[in-house]
């Protein structure tokens, strides 16, 4: 039976469907209310919101 680690499976699936996102100190929202704050900011500055949904596995 094939027993691959996740990293190898990702390599095989490749093509960006499930990419592991490395974290390097970017502004990250995990506290409650951050998303709502971002929406309020978008409203105040009359800008669109770009949401990056990631996991760090």
């Amino acid at each position: 039976m094939r027993t691959l680690t996740l990293s190898r499976q990702v390599k095989i699936l490749a093509l960006a469907v499930v990419l592991v996102t490395g974290l390097a100190g970017a502004a990250v929202a995990t506290e409650a209310g951050t998303f709502a704050k971002a929406l309020a900011q978008a409203e105040a500055q009359n800008k669109i919101l770009v949401v990056d949904f990631y996991t760090d596995w």
Partner: protein, 337 residues
């Protein structure tokens, strides 16, 4: 990849003043709830929304800084919601609407929808046909897993992509990888051969593509020259350092030999060594299954049965091993009769 690029890449930074970027860890804090609300399925997924949180666009996967930035610019130019864009598209399709709706469709894994929108974009913008064709092929490939597209359809699109005048070596490699996997799954591995030949030509002498080239040469040895020893030697070169002392990698190599019917005697030795090196009973049972498959392929039915029984003893809850035992016992009965 994106998290690092967002801090370092000048192209990405150039667009960030024009939008509000928020990054949601989908496993922490409020992340799971927001990801569920927006029906996020794959990571990373990018969505654009208006200030009311209504979705205006989407993108599955991080396509690199240039394409990502272009996508943000496109979505920033037309801030209508996806529902409004769909209505507008029905009334009068444009390539911009088609592209926006195509990338958004992929977020929900609606790959057939993404292909349809990109086909419209290609019809409307024939000067950039090659670029749309690559997107169409990629989404057909994704969709093939869910049965949206057949190998015939994907092969036809792959011909379009690889016969475009500007097709790069990267494109040839990508197409060969896609078709190689699909053709094998369909039990017709030889259907990749024309693409493999083109990819070998396109990458000849290109040292920057040495890794991809090695994979192509393995394909060549397996499918074209049918030189199992050469394929085995090339496969060895792809293994990480220390693989001979690593249970998982030994198992991977042994399984590769089994799948490709290459050097099964050595494959069995590798699997048995991996059994000894395994970290825990679960892993050991999986590797015993590899060993059992190889024994069965070599016609050693008794040994295959003994190995899979060992696997069942180590991991009795796994029904797959019991199915395997039944299969090997049937093979033995057929052989004896």
């Amino acid at each position: 990849m994106f998290a690092r690029a967002v801090n370092e890449n000048e192209t990405i930074k150039s667009v960030l003043d024009d939008v509000i970027l928020v990054q949601i860890d989908c496993e922490k804090g409020e992340g799971p709830e927001i990801a569920k609300k927006y029906k996020v399925r794959g990571y990373p997924t990018f969505l654009t929304t208006n200030a009311q949180g209504e979705v205006t666009g989407g993108l599955l996967g991080y396509p690199g800084p240039d394409k990502w930035t272009d996508w943000v610019k496109t979505e920033n130019t037309d801030q209508r919601t996806v529902a409004e864009k769909k209505t507008a598209f029905e009334a009068g399709a444009t390539k911009e609407l088609a592209c926006s709706l195509a990338t958004h469709a992929s977020v929900a894994y609606d790959f057939a929808g993404a292909v349809k929108y990109y086909q419209t974009a290609r019809d409307l913008d024939p000067d950039n046909a090659a670029q749309y064709s690559e997107e169409i092929l990629t989404f057909m490939y994704y969709g093939s897993r869910g049965g949206d597209f057949t190998l015939d359809q994907i092969e036809a699109e792959a011909k379009v992509v690889t016969s475009a005048p500007g097709a790069t070596a990267d494109t040839h490699v990508m197409v060969t990888q896609m078709l190689g996997g699909l053709a094998k799954q369909n039990g017709q591995p030889e259907r990749v051969i024309p693409f493999l030949k083109k990819a070998l030509e396109a990458t000849a002498g290109n040292e920057e593509m040495a890794e991809a080239r090695l994979q192509l040469e393995i394909g060549e040895a397996l499918l074209i020259t049918k030189d199992a020893d050469k394929a085995f030697a090339l496969k060895k070169q792809t293994m990480d350092e220390g693989w001979q002392e690593n249970a998982e990698q030994l198992n991977e190599f042994a399984w590769w030999c089994f799948e490709n019917d290459v050097n099964l005697a050595q494959a069995e030795e590798m699997a048995l060594k991996a059994v000894e090196l395994a970290d825990d009973d679960g892993q050991r049972a999986n590797i015993l299954d590899t060993a059992a498959e190889i024994c069965n392929a070599r016609g050693n039915c008794d040994e295959a049965i003994a190995r899979i029984k060992q696997a069942i003893a180590l991991d009795p809850d796994k029904s797959y091993f019991k199915d395997q035992l039944a299969r090997f016992e049937k093979a033995k009965a057929d052989k004896d009769s």
